[in-house]
Assembly symmetry: C2
Homo-oligomer: 210 residues x 2
DNA sequence: GCAAAAGTGTTGAGATTACACCCATGC
DNA sequence: GCATGGGTGTAATCTCAACACTTTTGC
């Protein structure tokens, strides 16, 4: 092989049981066999990077529709002991509830793991996890990335829980509601979610991103 | 060729004559021959991406010491008509005054061009220019990237001119000085620059980045 | 002494934080 | 009627933008 190989790796986040989780796959070959790492794969000739990322996730989890954003490209030649692999990292979001990963022994094992309690990962992927989390925390403050973690309609309490889980700290309810409303991030949809207590107004993200 | 090739492209900025300029090279081969584009080159097996970027700039301009930061990776297969090239884009900064590019006919022609008046570039590089400028504008607000565009000691007027050139608008002198000082971005070095008028205090960037 | 750039404070507006009580529903 | 989560306003503080005059030097 005369040139570096190109791969994509994807940090797929979801929120589950009040925790921010990422999808891991168990490495099957090479010096990292048995370790966990983020899913990824080689980019074939002629395929766009983002398409490779989506295809890999689709094949591994069946999830087709998700938010995907490029993170960083790692190109140190000694990161992968099997050769010089330039790895384009993405981060992705999928709304809860996420379908349970198929536990087909034909495929590598998959697991959703709390991002703040990751084991030592293969291919130096812990740095990737830190990077992805930092980006997510930064973006949630000024963009509508939270869209990728929620269903089309949701209560403000649910939205706030997403923010708190990502940021890792509690937020004031009144201030939170004021902010997201007057920033025009969400709009009420004139429906309510009924439950055991007082019904909650439902909201949706506003059309235009900002 | 069975896999995509990996290349780096670098948007090298400097400030010259009150304008933000970028280094362009003239394309010599292929369908974009004659057009201008940002300098770049293929990543050889075993070399880190950033090393390739530095080496290319060093070879083309002789500039060795510069600020370099990864921007984005473009991987659409049809961007380069000669094949599927995954291009990792960097942006770089070099302080003025910048050495004049050698006009050796053995090498491709080089030119510093005003970033806001670029011609139609090869390889779809106009998008890259926009992206790099947006990143620079964003980062100058909260980081010390301006460090890469100034000599070790400078006056606050010079610093302000860098900000104004990058942001493309005038800033209030008093507010500007207040901000950079109380943010701890710069510190006075107890020396002055003498000129035709009142001497100006010299400053240097503070040690720690933030 | 004059031209030119350097240096310096205050005020008002808007944004952000802190904080506690009533409301609507299911059971 | 009570337990539970849903919904709301105000005051204090901080941050950011607007704005004009005096100082120091070279000539």
């Amino acid at each position: 092989m005369r040139v570096p190989t190109v791969a994509v790796d994807v940090v797929l986040f979801t929120i589950d049981a009040g925790a921010l989780k990422a999808l891991l796959v168990q490495v099957r070959k090479g010096p990292f066999a048995g370790r966990w790492a983020f899913p990824g794969g080689l980019v074939p000739l002629g395929e766009a990077l983002e398409d490779t990322a989506r295809r890999e996730l689709q094949e591994k989890t069946g999830i087709a529709d998700l938010y995907l954003e490029q993170l960083y490209t790692f190109g140190e030649p000694d990161r992968d002991p099997s050769g010089h692999v330039v790895s384009v990292a993405y981060f992705a979001l999928v709304p809860a509830p996420v379908p349970a990963p198929p536990d087909d022994p034909k495929y590598a094992r998959l697991e959703w793991r709390d991002v703040r309690k990751l084991p030592r990962l293969g291919y130096g992927h812990n740095a990737l996890a830190d990077y992805a989390l930092a980006r997510l925390q930064a973006k949630i403050e000024y963009s509508d990335v939270a869209r990728g973690l929620l269903p089309p309609e949701f209560t403000l309490a649910e939205l706030q829980e997403v923010y708190e889980t990502i940021l890792g700290r509690a937020l004031d309810r009144r201030n939170f509601r004021k902010r997201v409303l007057q920033r025009g991030l969400v709009r009420p949809v004139k429906r309510v979610r009924r439950g055991p207590h007082r019904p909650a107004e439902l909201y949706a993200f506003a059309q235009r991103e900002r």
